[in-house]
Subunit: 491 residues, 2 copies
């Protein structure tokens, strides 16, 4: 007989040992081979969609069409990182040739980025594919040459196991025996196992998507290790939307429909859900929004735990003095589906009750009205760090000159007449923002640049060509973009 | 009457307010203007050398020639960062044009890096210019568009004040009134003031060079703020040197002389001082090293505090069981100059007493002998994170295939037949390594890439050209290298 706790510890021990066994091989792959690993996983996920989607459907209550789309997004991400690796700019190869003529003489110096080593990944409940087992964090870690140990998500444990099995079959085709099994492994869903994983000295970094509470607790564990490691947590945010007076006058119904569509999408279960709408008083925006949301039906939430968390958060918000209920929402007693809610507060209350500017994960949003542009800018100045900040405006409005720099200083992504839900997976995406939207503002968890989180620089000094890593040799066999003696050069 | 504590708090309040007042202007400078700021500081430091060097000499006990060289290094660093800013690759501009034809449609997305905001800089005792007031951290923060608040170093308070005065005069020529005084400011030398500075909500990042104890305590304060901020600490390391059997046979005296020159340089007061020499038993290396060091005279240390710290650390080391004194060192009772010391331990003791692999800041080093290559590799495997790792070897030796990857995994810089003291300020330098040599292995504090520490990404989505930051517009007025639709393009 063993306790579950000890089983978890044994699983961590096994997974970390496997990851270490795979680490040297993966770190040593050239871009073509590493891209082949990522592409094999992409193909395998696509091919297994019919097997995996029903499991996800059963565990998450997400609709099949949404899950099928998410599978395509997941394989697309893996393919983007294959492209990132083949492109090779991510390795930041920088060569300064020897200058014995200088005083002091300068040795030959060659810098590049190498993988940190095994990475622990904590996926998200709301993206069982794209932010989970083979999602962003895993794809970017593998692109960096780092094996991944996945903490099984308690919201989709069967899907985690099935996805790892799919990955292993694919990896067996592209990696040597004894290595393939360690590239992506998983450990159990319980909290203690997650803690043991972050504490394990063989883990070199953590990628996390989820709640601020859980993320910050794990970050502290990562920081308190004898050898602290980087922790990358995406923690969600209020994602404000500012509607200018001219925009409200020109397109009230269009903006209302767009906003309501965005905040109720997927039952409001996106970290980019717009949770705050700031509109001019007397513009008719408030009525237009209430009208638009009244037409949205109830939707199932991810699972009973997420639903209970949402309802508790909403109750807390509704109990605050000064909060006005515009639409109460509510739970269908038969299906447990949740109807969207909308509340309003006086704009000054957001200064007195900072809780109002915190994320409430689910189908609700907060509407505030401003009297003049000074009040608008004042609210922008009080914003905590956010993943996204959106402006619905008209070109030429003077308020933009004040508002946009305030938003750039507080947001990872600033949007113009668009909606923050829907995070394109591209070279230029930024998903992450100043604290508390992410544990560090310096990185993204989505898009090509996510790979930088799992890379560190090393400089080789004075080595003969044959002893240098291939990527650093004069002949540039990997055909990388390089900076040579200060000048950036394309291959 | 006010307490010193409150005076310090008031200085922090004033400096942070000035930094905030300067932040928008500095962040909004185009590359030419920002480079002009850095160049003006470089010119001013050079012009003030005759004024500043004597102050540094009086406060640090460093020789004039060394200090004069350090001034040149400091202005050279500022000029390198001017070049980095004008080059503009550091802004990582990435454009993905709109693709309405895709499903889902992709909006126009433009990503770049912007400054974090005001940065606190804690300089080093051993580099009163190059790692202090206008040193690496300051130059790279300014390049990122971040004003700097310098914590005055208790080892060179007058020099800190004089350098800030020089900077202010220069900045008044290139920055508007009301802004110039906030670009580089300083607060007092006491510990409480430093703590208050790191705690101040207006400070967005910290650059630190110094002891592990001090750095880790400040890092914890940075992490424990309501809004945690990045902390970049360079904490020093043991900087091992591995001599292969073939190299020891071929060049024993040359290697011994180089090693001794490096570890006794500047009385061993460099964070890159080689503190561990690993040589083949029976090779004659041990005798050659003892002979070389016996010819090195006593040198003044930076100040009585540094000397006392060194002597206490050395006493601790000498008291360990198994430690053999090859040269005892000692302090000249008249001049307080310190003679270099050298101790040896059995190689196995470095496994039992991990303290032996920690830095001892000053003119001492540790010699260990290995019997065979397995013992050599075993020691490499047990190394903590280090700033540098050096191999004295011969091309073609089989041991290198095992040793070099082990060192790349543990060091920020790997050297071949060179010496780690002397950190070239270039595009490709890496100064920083895995914990505990630095608080994070992901960055460098020296060289062009140091600017990345003070930058964070922001993506602009769907904006018309006129509302975009200049750097992101199609016309590319700053002539930046950019990645457009996945393809890296030079200006």
């Amino acid at each position: 007989m063993t306790t579950p706790d000890r089983q978890g510890d044994r699983a961590v021990e096994r997974a970390c040992a496997q990851a270490v066994a795979a680490a040297d091989w993966l770190a040593g792959t050239d871009p073509q081979r590493r891209a082949a690993v990522l592409t094999a996983l992409a193909d395998a996920v696509d091919a297994a969609a019919d097997e995996l989607v029903p499991i996800a459907r059963a565990e998450s209550a997400l609709p099949t069409a949404r899950l099928t789309g998410e599978v395509a997004r997941t394989s697309g991400q893996l393919r983007l990182f294959a492209e990132v690796v083949r492109d090779g700019a991510c390795f930041e190869v920088t060569v300064d040739t020897a200058r014995p003529d200088l005083a002091p003489p300068r040795p030959d110096l060659r810098r590049w980025l190498v993988g940190l080593g095994p990475v622990a990944v904590f996926g998200a409940s709301n993206f069982p594919f794209a932010f989970s087992t083979l999602g962003n964090d895993t794809a970017s870690a593998l692109a960096a040459g780092c094996p991944v140990v996945v903490k099984t998500h308690p919201g989709h444990p069967r899907l985690t196991a099935a996805t790892v099995a799919v990955a292993r079959r694919a990896l067996a085709e592209v990696a040597p025996e004894g290595v393939a099994d360690g590239i992506v492994t998983a450990v159990g869903p319980d909290v203690e196992t997650g803690v043991a994983l972050v504490r394990d000295d063989r883990i070199e970094a953590v990628g996390f998507t989820g709640s601020a509470r859980g993320g910050l607790a794990l970050q502290r564990i990562a920081q308190d290790r004898p050898r602290p490691i980087p922790f990358y947590g995406e923690l969600g945010s209020i994602n404000p939307v500012f509607v200018t007076r001219a925009a409200a006058a020109a397109r009230p119904r269009e903006i209302a429909a767009g906003f309501v569509g965005s905040y109720t999408l997927g039952a409001g279960q996106y970290c980019t859900k717009p949770g705050l709408l700031v509109v001019p008083r007397g513009s008719g925006m408030r009525g237009a929004v209430v009208e638009a949301v009244a037409g949205v039906g109830a939707q199932a939430m991810l699972n009973p735990g997420v639903r209970a968390g949402f309802l508790a958060g909403l109750d807390h918000r509704l109990a605050l003095p000064g909060v006005e209920v515009l639409l109460p929402g509510g739970v269908d007693p038969e299906t447990a589906a949740v109807a969207p809610s909308l509340v309003a507060v006086p704009i000054g209350l957001t200064a007195d009750v900072p809780d109002l500017l915190e994320e409430c994960f689910g189908p609700t949003s907060l509407l505030v009205e401003y009297e003049d542009e000074a009040e608008l800018a004042d609210l922008a100045r009080r914003l905590p760090g956010v993943l996204t900040a959106t402006v619905a405006g008209e070109v030429g409005e003077p308020v933009l000159a004040e508002l946009l720099p305030l938003l750039e200083a507080r947001a990872g992504r600033v949007l113009w007449n668009g909606w923050p839900t829907g995070v394109a997976v591209t070279w230029s995406m930024q998903h992450g923002g100043p604290f508390p939207s992410a544990t560090t503002a310096l990185h993204t968890s989505v898009g090509a640049a996510a790979v930088r989180r799992f890379l560190r620089p090393v400089t080789w000094q004075g080595f003969p060509q044959d002893l240098l890593p291939e990527a650093l040799r004069d002949a540039n066999p990997w055909r990388l973009p390089r900076r040579v003696d200060g000048v950036l050069r394309l291959p």
